[in-house]
């Protein structure tokens, strides 16, 4: 399955686009798989990836969290609002 990953702030700046699409297994894919796929697909994000959290369906997600075809996925660099 193709998963679209939204990018913000420094992640968007590094990638030069506001979302990347990565291929993941249709069954059993997790946030950890997503991280690996992003490094492979978009090397420009490799060094920021260690510092970003992953959001799945608008909640912070651990590496073991499952990702299905309908999931809304985003990379969340350390926040600085307020």
């Amino acid at each position: 399955m193709i998963v679209r990953v939204k990018l913000f702030a420094v992640a968007r700046q590094r990638a030069g686009i506001d979302a990347v699409e990565v291929e993941l297994p249709a069954v059993g894919a997790t946030v950890a798989d997503l991280r690996s796929a992003i490094v492979e697909h978009c090397p420009a994000l490799a060094d920021v990836l260690a510092h970003v959290k992953v959001a799945v369906n608008n909640d912070y997600a651990a590496d073991g969290t499952a990702i299905d075809a309908k999931a809304e996925v985003a990379l969340i660099p350390p926040v600085s609002g307020g």
Binding site: A9, A55, P77, V79, G81
Partner: protein, 140 residues
């Protein structure tokens, strides 16, 4: 009540929205655009957010504050886009029957917003350079 807006924040409207005859204390926090940070001069700030998640997290934090303190009304507004020096990026108004609860709830809200709500600021320095601010990440 929470809001994300590209318009300047009207503090009087925020304060009016938390008024009630049950209230004995209102705390208003404003985060404003500072000119100097560690000796570097700011020209302006840009704020961007992940709108769907930022709204969800702000709602969750309002709910949690209402659970932890006897909050009568709570209004959180975060500004987006380009802010000039001195302009408010966030307003948090909390009203409670007594002041200690209002202070505590307001402090907890701003501290927690700064940790979990997906909103980011970019420094537009006076030397013409720009820099996303990502605490703990070092120089991006």
């Amino acid at each position: 009540m929470i809001a994300l807006t590209h318009e300047p924040i009207d503090c009087n409207r925020v304060l009016a929205s938390v008024a009630s005859n049950d209230v004995g204390a209102v705390v208003l926090f404003l985060g404003t655009t500072r000119e100097f940070t560690h000796g570097r001069q700011t020209e302006s700030l840009d704020y961007e957010c992940y709108p769907e998640m930022a709204e969800k997290k702000l709602h969750e934090l309002e709910h949690e504050a209402r659970h932890r303190w006897p909050v009568i009304e709570c209004h959180i507004v975060h500004r987006l886009g380009t802010l000039k020096l001195g302009e408010a990026s966030i307003a948090i108004a909390v009203s409670c029957p007594h002041r200690n609860d209002a202070f505590e709830a307001g402090k907890w809200l701003i501290d927690t917003i700064k940790q979990v709500v997906p909103i980011w600021k970019r420094e537009n320095w006076s030397d013409g350079t720009t820099e996303w601010v990502h605490p703990g990440m070092g120089k991006p």
